[in-house]
Each structure stands twice: as C-alpha cells, then as structure tokens.
C-alpha cells in the first residue's frame, strides 16, 4: 500500500508538526522519518521535507543536512520517480544535495523575513501542483533569511525553457517584477520562489504552503499544494526501490 507522506526529521528541523497537521487536513497520512534511517517506509508515496534549521543552518542552510542517511534515501527514491516537495529549509537541502538546481543565498535585505507573499503558479501538472492552474495567484507566508534564489543565467534560461519554474513571487494581481522589493522581498533572480527537477517529481519552494491551509490562520491558498502532494502520494505506483534503500 502506498499513500504515506514521509516527513524526514533532520535535527534542527521545526515545521514537521505543521506539515503533519496540513497533510492530515488535506486528507492524507504522514509519518516522521528519523534522520538516521537509511530507507523510507515501504508505503511511502511522497516525501515532504519540512522547514526549520537543520543542523542549525550552520555553515550554510542545508549544507550539513544533505549528508544525512535519510536525505540519501530520499535522493534514491527521487531518482525512481518518487514525488518530493521541499519547503524552505527543505528546499535548501534539496539544492545543496544537487536534487534541484540553483542555490538559496542570503536575502537581499540581509534580514530574516516572516511575512505573507503572493506567488504565481508557473507550472501546473507536477505532483506538487496538479490541483492548480498555471497563473493561479496564492497568498502564502515566507519565513527565511536565506531565500534569494540564485543560479547562473544559462541555468535560469534552461529552467524557463524546460518549465522547471514552479512558482514566482508576484504582486496580488499576479504581476511579476523581479526588481520590485515589495513583491519579491528576498531578491530572488527572476523572482523565482520555487523550482522542480527536469522530470518534475522533485520540487522545492521557499513559501510555506502548510502555513496557509486554514482560513482561521489568514489564508487557505497553500492547501491545493498540500492536497496535490497528498493525492500524488495516494496515486503513485509503489516505487520499485524506494523501500529497499540502504547499501
């Protein structure tokens, strides 16, 4: 049986309970996977790497976390097509691990930012976005000090031509202006807030969809993203080797 959303817990991560809560209200099941585990549970249908400060974000966000056994297990599963979503620190880990292109540099304003932003969905149809349409504008909070998406120009061009841009920071009306410090507060290149790998099964984004799943908390716009992943987990074919990790 598949359908489980695996939530890897690397020491210092702190959004794991929030992710579990969001998965539950999106109709899914989740399980915490300890960072020393070398394999994901057999019933894993998707992975949601939560935000936080893995290994204190010392050295660089995600730099130390990428070497944990659980991240290596996620990498193997991802290679087999497992849907993986990394949010915030999870996104940083995926970039450091080379599962996603680019890097997250210090916010242009240097300061940590916890605030609502708007993002525009650029690529629908991925495991993290199939419940949405391209052009949808979502209001979701960010919460990071190192969220400025950066990559060489030729990589950015490729991301665009291969539809690997998941979400972009935008104004409330959907207008994207990378030079606008209000709508693109961390200064991300080309206002990129989230990307996918070439095959689309691995995605990362800085805004926290799990923080925007209930109206009482101010916005439910993130819920379709969580629901997309939950649904992908439930409909994913049992992966051939995800459960058989280890070496």
């Amino acid at each position: 049986m598949t359908g489980l959303v695996a939530i890897p817990i690397i020491p210092g991560v702190n959004c794991e309970h929030d992710v579990a809560h969001a998965v539950r209200i999106a109709g899914g099941r989740s399980a915490f996977i300890h960072h020393t585990d070398r394999a994901l549970p057999a019933e894993t249908g998707a992975v949601y790497i939560p935000g936080g400060f893995a290994y204190g974000d010392y050295l660089r966000a995600g730099a130390i976390a990428r070497f944990t056994p659980v991240v290596e297990a996620v990498a193997r599963a991802a290679a087999d097509g497992m849907p993986v979503l990394g949010v915030c620190n999870g996104f940083q880990v995926l970039c450091e691990a080379g599962l996603l292109p680019g890097a997250l540099a210090r916010n242009v304003g240097v300061r940590f930012l916890c605030q609502d932003v708007h993002v525009r969905l650029e690529t629908a149809g991925t495991p993290a976005s199939h419940r949405l349409k391209a052009g949808n504008v979502l209001r979701i909070p960010i919460n990071h000090g190192e969220g400025c998406f950066t990559a060489p120009a030729e990589v950015l061009d490729l991301l665009e031509t291969r539809n690997q841009i998941l979400v972009r920071y935008c104004a409330a009306d959907g207008t994207v202006d990378p030079a606008d410090p209000v709508s693109n507060p961390n200064g991300s290149l080309r206002a990129i807030a989230g990307v996918t790998n070439p095959s689309g099964n691995v995605a990362g984004m800085m805004p926290h969809p799990e923080r925007a799943c209930e109206a009482i908390l101010g916005s439910a716009d993130g819920r379709p993203i969580v629901e997309s992943l939950v649904h992908a987990a439930q409909s994913a074919p049992a992966p051939q080797s995800a459960g058989a990790g280890g070496r």
Binding site: R60, A63, F67, A105, N107, G109, T150, G187
Partner: protein, 89 residues
C-alpha cells in the same frame, strides 16, 4: 591527537564575483550613515580556520580543497580561497 604535524588552514568563503553581496552592502550603508562616506567596494566573507594533520603544506591544501568542494563552499554562489600556515604549537 595527530602524530603528523598539524597545519593551520584558513578558508575564506565569499559570494561569487558578480553576485550580490547583501551583507557587504548593509555594511557599506551602515558605515555611510556613521559618516564614513568614502568607503567603497565592501565585501563580506566567512572564514573557517582549523588545524589538520598533514606532512606538507601541499598535502594540507589538498585536504582543504577536498573539504571545500564537498561541504565548506557552495560553488553555485561562493568562491573560496585557502591559506595554509603553521599552528604555532
């Protein structure tokens, strides 16, 4: 304790040339606000210093190179520079 002599390594990691340096920029503005208006080209880097057992400077440098490539620096956004010295102990 290493029986091989220890070398002191200093790795300086800086934002890649051409990329923004938000911290350098912030310091530039803070200095200007305090009256140092003729300061220019401010850049901020991070240094990691450590001792490593190695017979020669070259061996120490090679180790440090490997560490930088593997973990200490992120080549997408950072450049690094390695200086090898003696620990003085």
């Amino acid at each position: 304790m290493a029986t091989t002599p220890a070398k002191r390594i200093t790795v300086t990691i800086r934002p890649k040339a051409g990329l923004r340096d938000p911290e350098g920029n912030a310091i530039l503005h803070a200095l200007a606000a305090l009256g140092w208006e003729d300061v220019e080209n401010v850049h901020v880097g991070k240094t990691v210093t450590f001792d490593v057992g190695a017979d020669t400077d070259d061996a120490a440098r090679a180790e440090a190179e490997a560490m930088c490539r593997k973990i200490l620096a992120n080549p997408v956004i950072e450049d690094y520079e390695i200086v090898v010295g003696d620990t003085g102990s």
